[in-house]
Amino acid sequence: MELQPIYIQILALVIFTIGLIVALSRRNIFFVLMGIELALNAVNLSFVGFAKTLPADMSVAGQIFPLFLIAVAAAEACVGLALVILIFRNRESVDSDNYSNMKG
Amino acid sequence: MLLHLLVLAPFAAAILMIATSKEDPKSSSRLAFLFGFAFVAMSIALIASGNQATEAIEWFHIPGAKGAVYYYLYSHGLGAWMVFLSSALSLVALMTARNSLDKNYRNFAIGIFALMGAMNGTFLAADAVLFFFFFEAMVFPAAVLIAGFGGKERRKAAMTFAIYTLVGSAPMMVALWYLITLADNSLVLSLAVALQNLDPATQTTLLLCFLLAFLVKTPIFPFHGWQAITYAEAPAPLSAILTGAMSKAGVFGFIAWILPIFPLSMEVVDSMMWLGLVTAIYGALMALRATDGKKLLAFSSMSHLGLAVAGVFSLSESMLPAVLVLLVAHGLSAGAQFYLMGIAERFAGTRDIEQLGGLAARNPVFGSLFGFLAVLSLAVPGTAGFVGEFTVLMSLWDMGPLPALAAGLCLILSATYMLRFVQKVIFGKPAREYEDGKRMTAIEGSSIGVMGVLLLVFGMHPAFITNALQLFDESAVQEMNKLTHPAEDAQTVEASADTTGEAIADENIAAVAQPMTDDDLRQLDSNLKANGFSDEERASLIAQLKNMSESEVADAQEEGALEQNEANVKEASENE
């Protein structure tokens, strides 16, 4: 019984699914943001896990890309939180269903 | 250079027009006229200078396609004449709109120039994707102009027009994309080659997709729902352009894209021809009942274009020049009639022909012009319309007497509705009292009059039109080949292209009537023998033929003799 890459992938999949469920099923806007973070983390893990199955040069991309993803996540969190605060000031609510004023 | 100018300069002109004053129609109209004249002059130069092509510039790559999409313009006689129609009608539209629109003249001119550029692009594009691009681009300025300057139901009309034409050409886009993923690039020849390798079912599907776009644009019978309301609600100058030039894009598509690309089966050709004839008769019947003057003209153009499409799909030798003359004649006469109807509407305040009447007495110059153009659109001999319709009828006669009879019925009906139209609009007494609106100005009258005179001139000497016609000549085919296959297998492509483009390609070959040679006579002799002619009969006939072809210098007689022996042979076989 050795560690297999498939275990890593399944872990990533589980976390990703939980992230999706959090993001979509919770109505609190903070949980939505956290769900997205969770899903992003799972993707990072998947990248690295796959990178380890590739030979020398090809494994580089999979290990660099998570760095970029983390940076993008940072930017996303920054803007997302600012938005949440702004909307919260206007609506006095963290219920994401209340935010929808998209008119078709 | 000329080609680039004709396609791109209208857009530049449209942008330049933005710089003119919106409030002062005088200054902007002067600039617009200047541009308009320049474009007409360029289009005449284009016709005069014969076939030409630009350098093929790589434009962009479509994902999945093998080759690049080229910005590649190519002018042949057909396209050049259509460009002439679009620029000439645009000029007259700018002139007539000058009196009807005051404040927004500038915006109108911008729209017209954009439309003209798109139309010119459609008629000159040698690359299928480029063609499609312009084909779609035509819709937008036209729809915007209808929505901005039309009559009471202008929004509905613009929506109907845009949705119908865009939805109609959507399948073509898909089919085109599919084809260019298989072809080396998107020029006609490579598309035709690519299509040959497909199985028949796929070919038919692709053909139907292409046909639909042109059927809607022309429009042909079950797809004409947009036409009447659009032409009626659009401002009259725009209606003139729509019917005179834009609807030609449909027929042009049949000739320049469908025929060379698709190997057509007999059923398709037959059903398309009948569809055209049904459109012709249906349009004429609808025109008989129409009470809205512009709708009447719309149905009349539908009828004429149906005839043109029927002519295209008769696929006879003389089809191409015949249809071209018919299209030019129809473009000029229908355009002029729309302008006149617009002036009548402005003058009397209505376009309901039951409400009009007596304009000949109230406004004699207008009345004479109106009557003159109505007569010209009736295909009276001596006008271009006659040459077109007679030759189209002749092509149809090739397919059998029944299509020709149907077309003849259509001509009778066209006389009926046109006379009714004339009678209701300019004769009799007005049905109600009204204040006279703006009269026809000298510039409008003379520009429309020039169109009438052009019709007469083309009618007496249609060679002006037909001489420009060298569709798909040798050099162009080679040019395209070079682009398609840089060096190695140009040979094979040419061979296969010849077979696919046969319907078109043998036009030029057949034009040259050969004098009789001894071989022909021998051939004839054996034919006759096979058909059971006795020796003396053969000898006498051949002696006669020899005498005729020797004594007669004029090639007319030669052709007569040639045809005669063909006819004899044909009859002989019938006799058996």
Binding site: M1, E2, L3, Q4, P5, I6, Y7, I8, Q9, I10, L11, L13, V14, I15, I18, L20, I21, L24, S25, R26, R27, N28, F30, F31, L33, M34, E37, L38, N41, L45, V48, A51, K52, T53, P55, A56, S59, V60, Q63, I64, P66, L67, F68, I70, A71, V72, A74, A75, E76, A77, C78, L81, A82, L83, V84, I85, L86, R89, N90, V94 | -
Partner: protein, 181 residues
């Protein structure tokens, strides 16, 4: 074998913490569980030979981003919203859809064979910096991406500042309110 045990432990912690995010009522607890997930993921990174990413994960993700989130949650008192139910009818639908997707993807994963490669490069600082800042023409060109990312961060910071500025005046927010209507 040892690696597997470490992995199982870390994975269990990560999954449990992730489930904690899902079921916690107050966002603050949710945020803290999320931090826990990230820490255990960082451990897994180290375990499979990418220590640099693990370190960055701890420093940037768990350290900076999540702390920002937790900070905001504590600043906004109303973040805990007792009126809003944790789950509603839609949630069931979501769970079914997500599980369906997960099942399918998992099925695909299980079907595809894969194994660790012995020649795989270790995701050390050295390897990362060599590739990331390789400015030679033949190189992978990550540095351009790196610069672009810098711009992205800068602009997102600017955006955040702009939105924060609006917050300062109450009139503006009223206007916003109108606009939103």
């Amino acid at each position: 074998m040892l690696a597997l045990i470490y992995f199982v432990v870390l994975a269990a912690i990560a999954v449990v913490a992730a489930l904690g995010v899902l079921f916690s009522k107050h966002p603050l607890y949710g945020g803290l569980s999320l931090v826990l997930t990230m820490l255990s993921l960082a451990g897994i990174y180290g375990l499979i030979g990418s220590p640099f990413i693990g370190v960055v994960q701890i420093m940037v993700y768990a350290g900076a981003i999540m702390m920002l989130l937790v900070f905001v949650i504590s600043v906004l008192n109303a973040a805990k919203d007792s009126k809003t139910p944790m789950f509603d009818g839609v949630s069931i639908f979501v769970v079914i859809a997500a599980l369906a997707l997960a099942g399918l993807v998992g099925f695909a994963l299980v079907l595809s064979p894969m194994g660790f490669d012995v020649t795989t490069l270790r995701g050390s600082v050295e390897m990362t910096s060599k590739n990331l800042f390789d400015t030679s023409k033949t190189g992978p060109g990550y540095f351009v991406l790196f610069e672009v990312l810098g711009l992205l961060l800068l602009s997102s910071m600017g955006a955040a500042v702009l939105m924060a500025k609006k917050r300062l005046s109450s009139e503006v927010s009223e206007e916003d309110h109108k606009e939103d209507k």
